[in-house]
């Protein structure tokens, strides 16, 4: 505690500041909720959830997010282990080569991605999103998990080598279990990035049966009159899984991020 426990004045001032800020952060969220109730809760939300296509949107998003998570974790944990504990030529250049990818704005990649996806035969398939998502998620995940792996005491590693364990066994038996906090963090971030993506689904998916959740609100856009209530209800509906993940995953988010922040 940075304040002395008995420093009531200082702590009160701080408490007041935080409460005021809290209101500032809470208000927009409440406003959103109220907006989705405009024109009637039942009316808006039933319009969203009775739409026969809506479950397909959710299902597709779940499939894409699961694939994103599995592939990102596979790529990232393997690479992080190599960069953290193995010694090989071009180690640093290869690491930079992967990290640099994170610096290019996605808008510049629309056409090349489209062409790659076409070559892979994934046009109008929700899985077309997976490649760009995984490639985009690797740099951050790699940075995080590599730092975490580096923090695992090397003595454990060396002891295992002496016992004759292969690299792969060490990776699976030591680094994967010990790296769980960071892996959980990357899992959550991958899920969020995947679920919230709007630009790529917009471009890659044509058939409603292939669409993902961020394309849901546009169904309710009208050109005369207003549909704010229904659009907000759709936005709320697609945010619910996010809130749930946060509720249950918050612990991991904090723990895992520790890795990147302290060395």
């Amino acid at each position: 505690m940075i304040f002395d426990r008995k420093d009531i004045i200082g702590r009160t001032i701080v408490q007041v500041i935080i409460v005021v800020m809290g209101i500032g952060w809470l208000y927009p969220l409440v406003r959103m909720l109220l907006k989705s109730l405009e024109g009637g809760f039942v009316n808006n939300y039933s319009a969203v959830f009775t739409d026969p296509g809506v479950y397909r949107y959710f299902w597709n998003s779940i499939v894409v997010a699961s694939m994103d998570i599995v592939l990102t974790l596979t790529c990232v944990t393997l690479a992080a282990y190599a960069f953290a504990r193995l010694r090989f030529p071009f180690r640093t250049p290869l690491f930079l080569l992967i990290i640099i990818g994170m610096m290019i704005p996605g808008a510049g990649f629309i056409i090349p991605w489209f062409m790659t996806i076409k070559k892979l035969g994934l046009i109008d398939n929700p899985l077309s999103l997976v490649g760009p998502h995984v490639a985009g998620g690797i740099p951050f995940g790699l940075m995080l998990i590599r730092t975490f792996f580096e923090g695992i005491p090397k003595e454990i590693n060396e002891a295992a080598i002496i016992d004759g364990a292969s690299k792969h066994v060490i990776f699976r038996r030591i680094y994967l279990p010990l790296g769980m906090p960071a892996i959980a963090t990357v899992t959550i971030y991958t899920f969020l990035g995947s679920w919230n993506d709007y630009l790529l689904p917009l471009i890659f998916l044509q058939n409603e049966a292939a669409m993902t959740v961020t394309l849901l609100p546009q169904k309710f856009v009208v050109f005369a009159g207003t549909n704010y209530g229904k659009i907000s209800a759709a936005l709320m509906a697609i945010s619910i899984p996010i809130f749930l993940v946060y509720l249950f995953g918050q612990r991991f988010l904090e723990k895992g991020l520790t890795a990147g922040s302290v060395k």
Binding site: M1, I2, F3, D4, G10, R11, Q15, I17, I18, M21, G22, W25, L26, P28, L29, R31, M32, K35, L71, C75, L78, A79, A82, L86, R87, R91, L94, L97, I98, I100, G101, M102, M103, I104, P105, A107, G108, W113, T116, G131, P132, V134, A135, I138, L142, E158, K167, L192, N196, T214, S232, L235, Y246, Q250, L253, E254, L257, T258, S261, V262
Partner: protein, 295 residues
């Protein structure tokens, strides 16, 4: 970087561990980068099968383009202000968290929440709040008699960019906060407690101990902040569209506008490449500075 010193031999099978990552990066990042480098030497409308080779013309036009220069200035302003404020506010909230009487967990969760929401949702909310007539910001000002502070937050060319920055801070402050918070919890509490015994106040503790101890955290946030602001697109595009009259245009909205709305495929490829070069340069400079710090 630490090497296992006892072993001199290379682990050649390490490459096997890199295959999946390199596969995805190669296919989706480097193919795209190659595509952009190639097309930046052509006059091409972004869709046509026909294009004309024009050498470096796109780059020459670009560095002289006042709209691009304006976009660069805006991006740098955006970067400096959001990165610093997010860090400062986040650090403050993280540092005082355990001194609160109530709501330690509650406030932490609340501040972090926007960071995980869809930017589309955040943008819709803030567009609402900033509305001149019906938005909560102006309504609040009118209610407390500050009528003369009422502004068209997203429609005033002097304010539009700042309105987006405020949204950015709302969204990402919580990220800085969590990072700082977790870093602080790793500190040796005894050192701080004993400093307090010696009579160090809030300010002294903060400036002499906590701030310097968080050096690597600052630098992590700095790198992520630089990269994030160079790529920032959704919030700007959805809240102001880069307007009015391009007053809040940033590099990625300019890229998008040239590419999608003006059909300048070759030109926007050049923009994309330039942004990447700027990002590389900044990261390099940042790492130099950090090395100096560390010594």
């Amino acid at each position: 970087m630490m090497f296992p010193k006892k072993r001199t031999a290379y682990d050649y099978d390490a490459y096997l561990y890199l295959i999946p990552a390199l596969l995805f990066i190669g296919l989706f990042i480097y193919y795209g980068a190659y595509f952009n480098v190639y097309h930046s030497f052509f006059k091409w409308n972004g869709i046509s099968r026909n294009m004309t080779f024009i050498g470096f013309d796109n780059y020459v036009t670009l560095v002289k383009d006042p709209k691009f220069i304006k976009a660069i200035t805006n991006t740098l302003t955006y970067m400096v202000i959001t990165v610093i404020l997010q860090a400062v506010i986040g650090l403050f909230v993280a540092v005082v968290n355990d001194s609160l009487f109530f709501g330690k967990r509650l406030f932490k969760s609340l501040f972090f929440l926007p960071n995980i929401m869809s930017l589309v949702v955040v943008a819709v909310i803030f567009t609402e709040l900033y509305n001149f007539n019906t938005g909560a910001v102006n309504e609040a000002l009118r209610a407390i008699g500050l009528e003369n502070l009422v502004r068209d937050w997203t429609g005033d060319p002097n304010l539009a960019l700042f309105a987006v920055m405020a949204t950015n801070i709302f969204t990402y402050m919580g990220f800085s906060m969590i990072i700082y918070f977790t870093a602080i919890t790793q500190f040796n509490q005894e050192v701080i407690e004993s400093a307090k015994m010696d009579g160090a106040g809030f300010l002294q503790l903060f400036t002499r101990m906590i701030f310097p101890m968080l050096k690597s955290t600052h630098s992590l946030l700095l790198i992520l902040g630089i990269i994030g602001s160079l790529k920032t697109f959704d919030l700007v595009w959805l809240i102001t569209g880069g307007g009015p009259a391009r007053s809040s245009e940033v590099v990625s909205t300019y890229l998008y506008r040239s590419y999608v709305l003006e059909y300048k495929g070759g030109y926007s490829a050049a923009i994309s490449n330039l942004i990447m070069m700027i990002a590389l340069m900044m990261t390099w400079v940042q790492s130099r500075i950090q090395k100096k710090w560390d010594v």
